[in-house]
């Protein structure tokens, strides 16, 4: 019996230690970025020599960065809108059927999550240019939407699979039309999942690099690529301030998504 106790202890110690290291490393870089952003010096030394908000103030004059951020927001909004509409309707159709074609389509629509996104970004560049379409914000939104749809599809499908089909039959047998049933029964029940998927799609688009790398040009520069270039060329402390701001916004959006859409529960599936 003693050896069992010792084994239990060693198991708990090892797993606890590894999990502790994991959670520490998950949060460590984010915390460091936030702390560094308050430095008063012009270098990224850590710990900071002194504290100030000067780099946050400097963001007010970073016009190129602001333009990139605004563009990113607009592109993400567009890509999210397309993803939510197409993802929800697609999920409604796929959830109805257990036939082979539905499962095949399901995995095809999910494939953007598994295929190297960079290869798709390049493919989209070739495609649009061979079609004679000039790169624009529209082509960027379309490219983003293709890789963001799976997020909405996944959360919505998971939620539809929990939906009792009897509720829809009940609504129909009580005389409700299909659209009325969708609006009054289905949508309220899957709404949170759709919202969570939309949130994920928005974040994925806002943070997308592999597709933007090929589809964004000087006129449609997006924030992650702009930041990437700054870090690549000269490490500007303004990047730390911009990162701090992004972390704060992400945190606020996540708390909102958790409140209104039960984000972490939706990610279970």
């Amino acid at each position: 019996m003693r050896s069992v106790d010792a084994e239990r202890l060693s198991f708990r110690l090892v797993f606890g230690a590894l999990a502790g290291v994991a959670i520490f490393f998950l949060l460590f870089p984010t915390v460091i970025v936030v702390l560094t952003s308050f430095t008063s010096s012009a270098s990224l030394r850590f710990p900071p020599d002194g504290l100030s908000l000067r780099w946050y103030a400097a963001l007010a004059n970073a016009h190129q960065m602001q333009a990139a951020a605004l563009n990113s927001l607009e592109v993400a909004a567009g890509a999210t809108l397309i993803s939510v509409v197409l993802g929800t309707t697609g999920a409604l159709a796929l959830a109805q059927s257990r036939a082979g074609w539905a499962r095949l389509l399901d995995s095809l629509f999910m494939s953007p999550l598994l295929l190297p996104a960079l290869a798709f970004g390049f493919a989209a560049l070739i495609y649009f240019s061979l079609l004679g379409l000039e790169l624009s914000r529209t082509t960027l939104v379309l490219g983003h939407a293709a890789v963001c749809v799976p997020f909405v599809l996944r959360t919505t499908l998971a939620s539809l699979s929990q939906l009792d089909p009897g509720l829809l039959d009940a609504s129909a047998s009580l005389g409700a039309g299909r659209f009325y049933t969708f609006r009054r029964v289905t949508l309220p029940l899957i709404g949170r999942a759709v919202a969570a998927g939309g949130f994920l799609a928005f974040m994925a688009s806002f943070d997308n690099v592999p597709v933007s790398l090929f589809l964004a040009d000087a006129r449609t520069e997006v924030l992650p690529i702009h930041l990437w270039q700054i870090i690549e060329t000269d490490l500007d402390v303004r990047t730390a301030a911009a990162s701090g701001l992004l972390i704060l916004l992400t945190l606020l959006l996540m708390i909102a998504a958790e409140r209104f859409a039960g984000l972490s529960k939706q990610l279970r599936g």
């Binding site: 069992v4 084994e7 060693s10 090892v14 797993f15 999990a19 994991a22 959670i23 490393f25 998950l26 949060l27 870089p29 984010t30 460091i32 970025v33 560094t36 990224l44 850590f46 309707t89 697609g90 409604l92 796929l94 109805q96 095809l108 629509f109 598994l114 295929l115 190297p116 960079l118 290869a119 798709f120 390049f122 493919a123 070739i126 495609y127 939407a145 009897g166 039959d169 129909a172 047998s173 299909r178 806002f206 943070d207 690099v209 592999p210 090929f214 924030l223 992650p224 930041l227 990437w228 870090i231 690549e232 730390a240 972390i247 992400t250 945190l251 996540m254 972490s264 990610l267 599936g269």
Partner: protein, 297 residues
């Protein structure tokens, strides 16, 4: 009669016959299907066609680009490095992610949402931001080197930035949530009585974990590894910022050839090869997850 009662009454009748009015809803898949054909499948098809051209001017068809890539030690090495990098980062993710998911699944009702939130937070934070944090940590003047020097563990600062070890560490951290979430889902589905039963029969914790829990977790492990592997092999930002200019992986090389050298057919052939390589690994993992699921059912 409540709505739920009505539903229960209605269910058996409707479920006998398969033809229900809402079967017509399959048409709702058309907008998504059209969109994905036009803006996802078609570009990939064009990519495949372009990769079959022999020269940047795209005149002759053939497998010249593939022969050139696979016949060159240098380029082939880049592909292998990329695939190995993905495997290493995935392994690190699994070694740390599995215990983390385990602790999450055992945590009490108060602690669990907090842990879950902490796991999701990093994946929502921009990859550029997270990678940037690592630059501050891993640099020659970075926190880690300062700490190691102060503790007297090393005499000279380590070169962590621009090293493969650095890229593996950062990739593992950046993609960790993709591993933990599917693992957590599978672990939570396991009947807690199994653990108790195994203990009651005299098996120790390690043995129970290895013989009971681990086999049941395989679908989650496979799903997590698939997602992490796919993400690591295409992680342009982390690879370039942490790896620097000397460590070249496929995404950067494709990008350089596509935009810098303007050699579309060669870059397309590389993209196709990267896709095939990743798909093969992902399919194998998928198969692993599926056979287990089949055996358990």
């Amino acid at each position: 009669m409540t709505l739920a009662d009505a539903a229960n009454l209605a269910t058996p009748i409707d479920h006998r016959g398969r033809r229900r009015p809402r079967d017509a809803e399959w048409r709702l898949v058309l907008p998504l299907g059209m969109f994905m054909i036009l803006f996802f499948a078609a570009p990939l098809l064009v990519l495949l066609v372009v990769s079959l051209f022999g020269e940047p001017e795209m005149r002759t068809l053939g497998l010249a680009q593939y022969a050139r890539f696979l016949g060159d030690r240098f380029t082939l090495g880049i592909l292998l490095d990329t695939l190995v990098l993905g495997a290493e980062a995935t392994l690190v993710c699994l070694v740390f992610g599995l215990p983390l998911a385990w602790v999450c699944s055992k945590a009490g009702p108060r602690l669990q949402p907090v842990l879950r939130f902490l796991v999701i937070l990093p994946i929502m934070t921009s990859v550029v931001v997270r990678t940037f944090g690592w630059i501050v940590i891993l640099g020659r003047q970075g926190i880690l080197n300062k700490a190691l020097l102060a503790l007297g563990l090393v005499d000279d600062p380590l070169r962590l930035l621009f090293s493969e070890t650095g890229v593996v560490i950062v990739l593992a951290q950046v993609q960790m949530p993709l591993m933990v979430l599917p693992l957590l889902t599978t672990l939570q589905r396991i009947d807690p009585n199994l653990w108790a039963a195994s203990s009651a029969l005299g098996a120790g914790s390690w043995r129970t974990f290895r013989r009971v829990i681990l086999p049941l977790t395989l679908p989650g492990i496979a799903a997590g590894c698939m997602l992490v592997y796919a993400a690591c092999t295409t992680a342009f930002v982390t690879q370039t910022l942490i790896g620097g200019a000397r460590l070249v992986y496929m995404p950067l090389y494709i990008f350089q050839q596509a935009t810098g050298a303007n050699n579309w057919p060669f870059a397309a052939a590389m993209s196709v090869l990267l896709m095939i390589a990743v798909l093969v690994v992902v399919s194998l993992l998928n198969l692993l997850g599926r056979t287990r699921r089949g055996a358990d059912a």
